[in-house]
C-alpha cells in the first residue's frame, strides 16, 4: 500500500510522521500489532470530507519518536469495531467521535451512549442533510435529554 510521508522539510526533526491507509476490518489486528511493538495510542480523530469519513488512529513510539497514523475511509453507515479492549483509554476518543460525528462504533468498553458532552445538536460536525441517516438499529442515535441539574458539592 502506498505510504504518504509528511516530513517537515524546513527544520530537521527526529522521528518520522507517516500515514498508512488500512481497511476498516483490519483495524483491530493492526492495533494488536502496535501494542506488541510497545507503541502508545496518541490520539484518534475523524473528519467528514468528500462525503465519507476519514478516521485516523495515531500511535507514538516513545523511544524513537516516530508517529504512525492508521487511516480508514468509511461510509456514513459503516460500523467500526472499537479497539478499547486492547487500548482501554481509546474509549474516550471513540465516544467523542460517536457523539460529534455520528460514527457507529461497537463494543466500546466504557460506553457513554452519546452522553459524553451532552450537547443538544445531534452530530454537529456533519452537514445538516447527513445527520438523520438511519444507522445500525442497536446503536441508533437518540437526541440527548435536557441536561439534569448537577448537584453541587457544597463544602
Amino acid at each position: 500500500m502506498p505510504e504518504e510521508t509528511n516530513e517537515k522539510k524546513a527544520v530537521r526533526q527526529t522521528g518520522s510522521n507517516t500515514i498508512v491507509p488500512v481497511k476498516a476490518d483490519e483495524l483491530v489486528e493492526k492495533a494488536v500489532e502496535m501494542k506488541k511493538k510497545g507503541l502508545r495510542l496518541s490520539q484518534a480523530c475523524c473528519s467528514w470530507v468528500n462525503n465519507q469519513y476519514e478516521i485516523s488512529y495515531s500511535f507514538a513510539d516513545d523511544q524513537t519518536l516516530d508517529y504512525i497514523t492508521l487511516r480508514i475511509l468509511a461510509e456514513r453507515t459503516a460500523t467500526i469495531s472499537s479497539i478499547s479492549e486492547i487500548y482501554p483509554y481509546a474509549a474516550f476518543y471513540e465516544n467523542e467521535m460517536e457523539e460529534l460525528f455520528g460514527l457507529n462504533i461497537r463494543y466500546i468498553d466504557l460506553d457513554y451512549h452519546n452522553r459524553l458532552y451532552r450537547i443538544k445538536t445531534k452530530a454537529p460536525f456533519l452537514p445538516e442533510d447527513q445527520r438523520e441517516v438511519a444507522t445500525d438499529e442497536t446503536k441508533k442515535i437518540s437526541a440527548p435529554d435536557a441536561p439534569e441539574t448537577q448537584k453541587e458539592d457544597a463544602n
Binding site: 522521528g15 458532552y117 458539592d153
Partner: protein, 360 residues
Amino acid sequence: MGKRSVIPFGPQHPVLPEPIHLDLVVEDEKIVEAIPNIGFIHRGLEGLAPDRDFQKYLYVVERTCGICSFGHGLGYVESIEGIMNVEVPERARYLRVVWAEMARMTSHLMWLGFTADAFGFESLFYEAWRIREKVLDLMEMTTGGRLIYSVLKVGGVLKDITPDMQKKILDDLNEIEKETREMTKTFLDDYSVQTRLKGVGVLTKQQAHDVGACGPMARASGIACDMRMRGYEAYSDLGFEPVVAQDGDSYARCEVRINEIFASIELVRRAFEHMPKEGDLSATVKGNPNGEYFARIEQPRGEAIFYSEGHGKPNLDRFRLRTPTFANLQALCETLKGAEYADVPILILTIDPCISCTER
C-alpha cells in the same frame, strides 16, 4: 465487602479551578472507581474551523486555554507551516522558544500555587504567584499581553525582542531563579508536605505506559519521553535533556515540574546566546493550505497533537486538537483507585488538569 456509595465531586468545588465532575464509587472511605463526567466547558471551537480564514482562526485556537495559550498558537502555526512547507527564519524560531519556555514557567509556578493551596499551604500559594507576576511582567514587556499573547503568525512572529529587553530578561531571570530555589526547597523539604505527597497515587512505569500517560505524569514514573527531544523550532540546537524521576508518586510529579522550571530558565539563557543578532521575523505565506499534517509539541502538561486538513480553500476543512489532559484523564482514574477520599483534590491537581483544553 463494605457498603458502596457514589459521591459526586464537582463541578463547583473550592479547590477546583475549573468545573469537572467525577462520580466516585466509594467503599468505606477508599475509592474503588472514578468515572469522569466532562462537558461543562465544551464550546465546540473545532466546529469554527470551516467558517474562519486560516490565518484568523489562530486567534480562536489561542483562546482554547488561557494558561497554555502560547503552546496552542505554536502548534497551530506549526501544523499550517507543515502543510504549506514554509521555512520559518532562524531568529523567529529562537524567539518562539524563548516565549514558549517562559510560558511554561508561568504555568508551572501557577500549578505549584494551586497544589500548595489544596492542602492548606496558603503562604506558598501567594509566594509562588508573586514570583509568577515577575515573569508575567517580562511577558507583558515583550509581547503586550499577560496571558493571551498573540505574537505568532503563520510563517514567523510579529514582534521582536530588543537588546535592552534581552538584558532585562536575563537580569530578572537570575533573581527569579534565586527566589524560586528558596521557595521550592521549603516546599520539598517540609515534613507535612512529604507526608501528604509521598507514596500517594503511585503510578508504576508499566501502568503509566498502559494508560497512555504523557508529559510530567509519565516522566515522573520513569518514561523519558518529551516532545522537545524531537527538535522542533530551535530545540535541536540547545542540547535539551528531559527531566525524569523514578518513584511515580505525587511527590515525584512535584519534583519533575519544579525541576522543569529551572530547566526552562537554562533554555532561555542558551537560546539568547545562540540567537542570531539580526534576521527576518517572518516568511511570506502565499496561497491556501492543501494537504494535512500532524504537528506535535510539548505543552507544560504534556504532548499536544495538532491536526489540520485543508483542500485549497482559505478555510480549513478540519482542525483537531488533542490536548495532554485528555490523555491523562485515564491516568487520573487509575491513580484514584485505592486512594483515600481526602486525597482526591491533591491527586486531581497532580495531573495538572486543564479542563478547558480537554473539552475545547
